[in-house]
Subunit: 119 residues, 2 copies
Amino acid sequence: MAYEKKIPVDLDCPLRLTMSLIESKWKSCILDELRNGDPMRPSEIHKCLPEATPRVLDIQLKEMVEDGLVGKTIFPELPPRSEYHITDLGKTLIPIIDAMLRWGEDHYDIFEKKYGAGN
Amino acid sequence: MAYEKKIPVDLDCPLRLTMSLIESKWKSCILDELRNGDPMRPSEIHKCLPEATPRVLDIQLKEMVEDGLVGKTIFPELPPRSEYHITDLGKTLIPIIDAMLRWGEDHYDIFEKKYGAGN
DNA sequence: TCAGGTATGGAAAATTTTTTCGGTATACTG
DNA sequence: CAGTATACCGAAAAAATTTTCCATACCTGA
């Protein structure tokens, strides 16, 4: 189902292990959206991250469920309804997400000047 | 010189800004190698990260120099010699690298069971 | 002299990720 | 009834990253 890597991630490097769980385009943002513990529906997550396509959110949420960072509840209703929530394991990543968030805020001006519009 | 992205990174999201600086395959590991402040030659870095090709280290070091995370000293000698060192800006990322390193160590067993050899 | 190490980078191939488009099925609203 | 929304997923295209291979130019040691 998921894309099968031909070159496997080196799990023996703790740094690369952690990175591999959050490095794809929207995973860190998804964790940030779910951080407060409230479950969110996919369409809600998409509203909060409008630049992500629903497809990529779907794919990455699925991987995060596989990795145990996020849990999923499916309601047997029509039209379909489901909810995603952060797990206890996922919550242990929040301090890292926080630190990255703060770093980005603190150093925004440097990179705005360097790579921002008009440069 | 560097690959020019067709879909630009959204610098307005602090999380994605931080991620964009460290998410590629070896950047976090390179920062970890340089963390103590001692300069390292490219061949030395490669010895510490033997699974990375010299080419990709070269490319990523160059980007990190552009981003101001790493500094470079070229010695006008033959055979050529150069050294890379972490900058003050780069050092501000070390707490994040550390947190990811510790997280990976703390949760290694979960993912070893899940994705390790023989599974 | 020849092999091996030094640092770097162009170019193309291979790999991986993300986007785009389409389709499933059902219910509600105007 | 047509349009919209819900969640999800297959497939192919596009984009982005990494690998592989080759080349430069010079030194040291066998």
